[in-house]
């Protein structure tokens, strides 16, 4: 289990030390593939917990880690083409930072200790902040500053929440530990006022990391200015492991008998995120910022599903995978569009389907998938969440869910169609930045996966989602 954490770290060291600007991106590829192989090995062998129970490949890790690993490997291939096109920029920090990020995300996914979890979340922030500044423009600097400040605040509050949890278990008969297994076993021995207060701080902290409204203020800026590849990893990987962290917190609340309180907060925040995304999605002039609001929306959907529990929670676990993969398609395709037109304004970009015969249609297909059109897999996970809401008698929640989804479909569709359709003649163009195999094939692979999961969901995967939902209290 340590291999999947240490291998990317070692390669990050290699990347920082490597002198060659041209060969350095290969470290990403090697790191991505080694990680993928390591995760596949974990999946097959199902090893026992490591490091005294601090790391475990539990059902929640099973949901998020393979998806993150696939996403990273695909992005690593994409990076080979992307970084070749940006010879003007020093890629030392970029390559090294991405590998550190992979290692940190792996620790978050596997961590069974709330303190270790917190340190790893902090590391994901620190390793990505300099990457947002990759373009070295004033705008990307502003985005990096906001990202760092807002996320650091969130993380500091999450630490306070973690301390509250530790204090809740410090009384007589308490576990005096931050291991999830100890905390859940202690159950009612935990001091419930401190669990409640701790949950609020942890929700704010990890909610900031996920980008739930109203804590999302860094998201449009960071996703808008970051290179597409980083956007894909932030929106698909980092936010997903943030969600898993929140799910672990909910697991403790459930064990302490405070789940009703936690669930109401989650449902409220989830609906608020969807509503806010719907408002800002309409008439958005910048297609990368539009994707950021889509990410806010989907974090809302995940939180809502987690809050509803039962079948909806299993749907949310499925949706974590679907959202991660589809966000990969969208951000990588958007990155190709941005490169080719030299602009991410809706006013400048048109006729993408004709100029970029792979990325243009992929962007459209990604939009259809993310807004929940069949036969793509997000349709099935969103349907499962809706089903869970209605089955649990939450008719108002279900109705609001549908209303927000339709508004977002229309709002996002108007923007996407403007970009994809039409005649590209006269639109700004950067020469020699058309579709190439290295930049167009990676999102295509992810899209195929999304389609495949929609058409056929193996029983083995389905039981993982159910087990993960059961882990957080069903």
């Amino acid at each position: 289990m340590l291999f999947v954490i240490l291998a990317p770290l070692a390669l990050a060291a290699v990347a920082f030390a490597a002198p060659s600007q041209v060969r350095r991106p290969l470290a990403l590829l090697v790191g991505g593939l080694l990680h993928l192989a390591g995760v596949a090995f974990l999946w097959v062998t199902r090893p026992a917990p490591a490091l005294g129970g601090w790391l475990e490949f539990d059902p929640l890790a099973r949901v998020v880690l393979p998806m993150t690993s696939v996403l990273f490997a695909v992005c690593a291939v994409y990076a080979q083409g992307y970084l070749k096109r940006r010879p003007d920029r020093d890629n030392r920090i970029f390559v090294g930072g991405l590998l550190v990020l992979l290692s940190a995300m792996t620790v978050v996914a596997l961590s069974q200790h709330l303190g270790l979890l917190w340190v790893a979340i902090e590391l994901t922030t620190l390793s990505t902040a300099p990457l947002i500044y990759f373009d070295k423009t004033a705008r990307s600097l502003e985005a990096a500053w906001k990202y760092l400040l807002v996320c650091s605040l969130g993380i500091a509050l999450a630490l306070l929440g973690t301390f509250f949890f530790a204090l809740a278990g410090a009384g007589p008969g308490g576990p005096r530990s931050l291991l999830l297994a100890d905390l859940t076993r202690a159950g009612a021995a935990l001091s419930s006022p401190w669990i409640r207060a701790g949950f609020v701080f942890l929700l704010v902290g990890y909610g900031t990391k996920m980008g739930l409204a109203p804590l999302h203020s860094w998201k449009p800026d960071a996703y808008g200015e970051a290179p597409g590849i980083l956007g894909a990893l932030l929106a698909g990987g980092v936010t997903s492991v943030g969600f898993i962290s929140l799910a672990r917190v909910v697991r403790v609340c459930h064990a302490a008998g405070e789940s009703a309180f936690a669930r109401d907060a989650l449902v409220g925040l989830g609906l608020l995120s969807m509503a806010l995304a719907a408002v800002f999605m309409i008439g958005q002039r910048d297609f990368k910022r539009m994707l950021a609001y889509s990410s806010v929306e989907h974090m809302g959907i995940l939180t809502l599903g987690l809050g509803l529990g039962g079948a909806a929670a299993a749907g949310a676990m499925f949706h974590t995978v679907n959202n991660g993969l589809t966000k990969g398609v969208l951000f990588l395709a958007a990155g190709n569009l941005h490169r080719s037109y030299g602009s991410k304004r809706v006013d400048d970009v048109r006729g993408a389907a004709r100029r970029l015969p792979i990325s243009g249609p992929l962007f459209l297909a990604g939009f259809l998938a993310i807004t929940g059109s069949p036969p793509f897999s997000p349709f099935f996970s969103e349907f499962a969440i809706l089903n869970g809401a209605l089955g649990g008698g939450r008719y108002v929640v279900g109705a609001l869910f549908l209303v927000f989804l339709s508004i977002i479909f229309v709002g996002m569709g108007a923007t996407v169609l403007k970009i994809v359709q039409g005649d590209p003649a006269g639109a700004p163009e950067v020469k020699a930045h058309g579709d190439s195999w290295l930049t167009a094939a990676p999102p295509l692979v992810l899209m195929a996966l999304v389609l495949l999961l929609g058409l056929f969901l193996p029983q083995g995967l389905k039981s993982v989602f159910d087990a993960a939902a059961a882990r957080v209290g069903g």
Binding site: G115, L126, A129, E142, W145, S152, L153, A156, F163, A170
Partner: protein, 215 residues
């Protein structure tokens, strides 16, 4: 001994108010450094027979070096490089932020008296001091325009979290305590680098100019 401990807690809260009221950046940095140094004394004063001496010393010396010396020095270096002296026109004025700070302290005391402490043998001032300081840090971050003041706000917030952590120092693994100091250092370090670039890019450390991105 107990009188000294109470004195330190009270001084930490007094410094919170000073931080909110002062406009000269050098004074603010010095106050934050003084608060950091005071916090370094707390693990020694609060140590019981249950705490191991090694942990107490590590926490105390670590806090003194990082919070009291290194980070204030970095901040002083940053304002010298950028030639800025005071916080002009904060988003929330100095008097209103003092009042808000006072409200925060009152709320912190109300909150901590409402919450039963699972370990009653611990000092009763820990929770209210921690929460007041966290609140002060948050206020500084959201109500000030200069990047340096926002970083100080973040530091003060971390100071508050540190005070709270003292409740747990008997049984929490060292890793979490070390993580606090390490992450704090790392965060400010990265912030410092970014600030350096802000300086070169905009020839000022005013985050108000960072406002091209909005909807």
């Amino acid at each position: 001994m107990s009188a000294w401990t109470e004195m330190v807690f009270i001084l930490v809260v007094v410094l919170d108010f000073f931080l909110l009221a002062s406009s000269r950046l050098r004074a603010v940095i010095r106050a934050a450094a003084a608060q950091g140094a005071l916090l370094a004394v707390l693990p020694l004063l609060l140590a019981t027979h249950a705490t191991e001496l090694g942990h107490v010393l590590a926490l105390s010396i670590g806090a003194f070096v990082v919070k009291g010396v290194v980070i204030p020095w970095l901040l002083m270096w940053a304002i010298r490089e950028a030639a800025i002296r005071r916080e002009v026109e904060p988003i929330v004025g100095f008097i209103p932020s003092l009042i808000l700070g006072g409200v925060g302290v009152a709320l912190a005391f109300a909150f901590s008296s409402a919450m039963p402490l699972p370990i009653p043998e611990k000092h009763a001032f820990i929770v209210p001091t921690a929460l007041s300081t966290v609140w002060t840090g948050l206020l500084l971050v959201v109500s000030r325009r200069k990047a340096v003041t926002q970083v100080i706000g973040f530091l003060v917030l971390e100071n508050g979290v540190f005070v709270f952590g003292l409740l747990l120092s008997d049984f929490m693994p060292t890793m979490v305590e070390a993580g606090v100091l390490l992450d704090l250092f790392a965060a400010v370090f990265v912030m410092g680098i970014v600030m350096f670039h802000i300086n070169r890019e905009f020839s000022s450390l005013d985050t108000e100019k960072l406002s091209a991105l909005k909807d």
